[in-house]
Amino acid sequence: MHARRGAPGGIAAAAGLVFFLLAGSVMASEAASAGGGIQLDLQIESLLREDLDARGLSTRVQWTREGLSLEIRAERVELPAPIGTLRRLRVECGDLRLGRTEVRCEAARLWGDAGDLDLRGARVRLVWGRESGQLTLAGAWPGWFGASGDVRVHRDPARGWDVRADLDGIDLAALAASPRLPMELPVHLGQGRADVALRWRERGRSEGTLRVHDLAFSDDLGLQAGEELDARLWVAGDANGWDVEAAVTAGVVFVDPWFVDLDAEGPVVLEARGLVADADNGSARTDLLSLDYGAAAALQGQDLAFAPGRGLEGRVQAEIAALGVIYDTLLSPWLVGTPLGELDVAGHLAGEIELQDSMPRYMRAEWSGVEAQDRRGRFGLSGARGGLDWSDTVPGGPGRIEVDAAHLYGLPFDAFSAQVRARPQGLELLEATEIPILDGGLRVGAFSLQQTETGPDVQFQGGIRAISLEPLTEVLGWPRFSGQVAGMIPRVRLEDGDLNVDGRLLVQVFDGEVVLRDVYIHDLFGYAPELGLSTQIQRLDLELVTRAFDFGRIQGRLSGHVNDLVMVDWSPVHMDLELMTPMDAPGRRRISQRAVENITELGGGIQAAASSIFLRFFENFSYRRLGFRCELRGDVCTASGVADRPDDGFVLVQGGGLPQIQVIGYNRRVDWPELINRLATIQAGEGPVVQ
């Protein structure tokens, strides 16, 4: 009975049956007198033990001059799973040798039918030490599941069971389809063969090697599937711990949403040393665990322990030599649909994580040579390097972030570095820094990012150190003009996904001033980023404006405002614009003939009160006032000018002196994109259409 512990129940029960019948035959044969042939038949209706139910048993012992032969039959034997019901069991031993110390049968043969599997005269060698109690069963594998090889089962009362099996060419699809498999596989095996070399000892070190070739598997929906997979598993150890090496060396795997081509990325290798698993409570621990993902990444875990109630604990070190490979195969499928879902990435990252309750408690990371470029051109950075450590309870040590170059929608940032510190729920800047932008920069006096229950909370204080507009407009692809932008940003708030910029930015341009306020950005990396702001515009020099936009020539000043400007995808969809000749100190006011024509060109339905032929006699006209109002809603601009007329027109340019010119608009509903197109056409140098 003792032998059954730890041995598969079925084998123990079968062995028990054999012992019992052998013992019976031995006693019977010894009782028989020597001389001529004796045949002894023993019929047993049924035999019941706790894990054995045998019916219709018969034993025949024949004692002839040639020797002793034995035949045991059973109509039906019930054994515990996975053996189950055996029918027509028959054991034949033609050369039974009964020694004083052992019973031996070198060429026993077995027949039986277990439904899906059967034995048809399988040859078995059987040795039983009568005194030592040792039992050996050995034979060729009966060809089940397409495999060939040898199996040897040995039992020593002192050392317990010792099983060796060397099987080649196991048909994994047939094995997976077998009802004898103790568990239901989550996938179907399409094909695959395996070789097994197993040495299992009840007491002592065991070792097993499994090699799988050309495996194909898939679940019902094809969300987990593999093809042409080669893998190997090596396990060695004893109750004190196991060493495991598992590797998938070739083939392709798709585990939704990840696809890994092992032929391209290199093998995935998992190694564990000193693995102890407790099947009863589902806990496991290992002294050392390593995972290699080709040459791209390597993880090493020390003293990892898992228990159902306590989660995963331990320390994991990671070395990612090819961040690009890891991003492409593992991160990007997971980040699809987010701003970080379409990047070209490269770089190196090394880090360490301490886990408790499956949650990180401490992390440290260092990175270098990191490149990340958005494929849609929204942002990018290159030459990033730095290091940071983080703990879940206290602020981390001083870390640094360095970047060689970066851009946001084409706005270039030069090299900068920042001293930062990770906090349990965020990040803070330790000392003021400046991110150079062209000849100026973004000064960051204070910055912190804190994750709160309601979302990320951003604190920012800084400003813009004068940036020249000429290079800025050039890199942004705008019409070039000179001037500069500067300002203070006392605060930046993040509310409902909107980035709100408090404070005022002063743009000094065209010898005047534009003050920007109430700036907000919504969905910065979405399909249609939205920028909102209001401006106050003071005394722009129209001569500089018209020169920059190549619009003819207008002398004079222009003041006004743009209230509630909303730009979606950098195009205005809403604003209340008003630009007028200022009342006080309007200065010299002249408008060239070409400017008049261009204004006429711009606003379809505008009527120049003087005929075009008349216009040609004069190069310049003086004007009293000019102005334009536009209430933009969507694509529609409801336009008006400096004054309304009784005929429903509105005055855009009110002449002064002689010859007097009036530019009058009649179309109050202007299509804004069309207006911009026409402005672009004028700038492209195409003259107005004059008939």
Binding site: P333, A608, V689
Partner: protein
């Protein structure tokens, strides 16, 4: 001062007369359905000839810019020519606004993706979920190397659809309508899907059109 007094006074009288009045802005079901139908047809690339007539209460869908009245005889030649060239703005008074740059961008992105998704809809690898998303139904017939591509397309499409439903609600200043918009779309996607496409019924069971 008397006039000022009378305003709250009148309001009080009206309030008393009307009793307890709750003003609800109801979700414009018909308009939403029309809007969804237009967007869905566009995204599925259903030919216009198959388009059903629009209901009267429906949203005004992207219409051809309507020219305002012709220039009067007194308009000088130059301005007249320009007026012909520059189209006055199209009038829009939809019950449900679906014409915003963000929505247009999302629609363009979905339109661009449609030819890539179509074969997988036809093969039954993917189908319309009952929540207005695209759902993977059975990838077994898709070559293994292409499955992550299909998964990526589906994720991107769903990300676009999420943005679309949210943006329509936002464009109409009713973020709380997002759920109803999604429900409307979920129904219309299935209604407009070509025969042979798969969809999930209310219980999540797959059915084929």
């Amino acid at each position: 001062m008397k006039a000022l007094w009378s305003v709250p006074g009148l309001a009080l009288v009206f309030a008393l007369l009307a009793g307890c009045v709750t003003i609800n802005i109801y979700f414009p079901t018909a308009a939403a359905e029309e809007a969804a139908r237009a967007i869905v047809r566009d995204a599925l690339q259903v030919p216009d000839s198959e388009a059903a007539p629009q209901s009267e209460s429906g949203a005004q869908l992207p219409a051809q810019p309507r020219h305002a009245g012709a220039a009067t005889g007194s308009t000088p030649v130059l301005a007249w020519v320009l007026e012909r060239l520059v189209s006055p703005a199209a009038a829009q008074s939809p019950d449900l606004q679906i014409e915003t740059p963000a929505i247009n961008r999302i629609r363009a992105s979905m339109r661009e993706r449609a030819p890539q998704l179509a074969p997988h809809f036809r093969s039954g690898a993917i189908g319309f979920g009952n929540n207005g998303d695209v759902v993977i139904r059975d990838l077994s017939e898709v070559p293994l190397r292409d499955r992550s591509t299909v998964q990526r397309l589906v994720s991107e499409e769903n990300s676009d659809r999420d943005s679309l439903y949210r943006e329509i609600a936002r464009a109409n200043d009713r973020p709380d309508w997002e759920r109803q918009i999604r429900e409307t779309f979920a129904r219309v996607w299935v209604e407009e899907a070509p025969a042979g496409y798969w969809y999930q019924d209310r219980n999540g069971q797959w059915r084929q059109k």
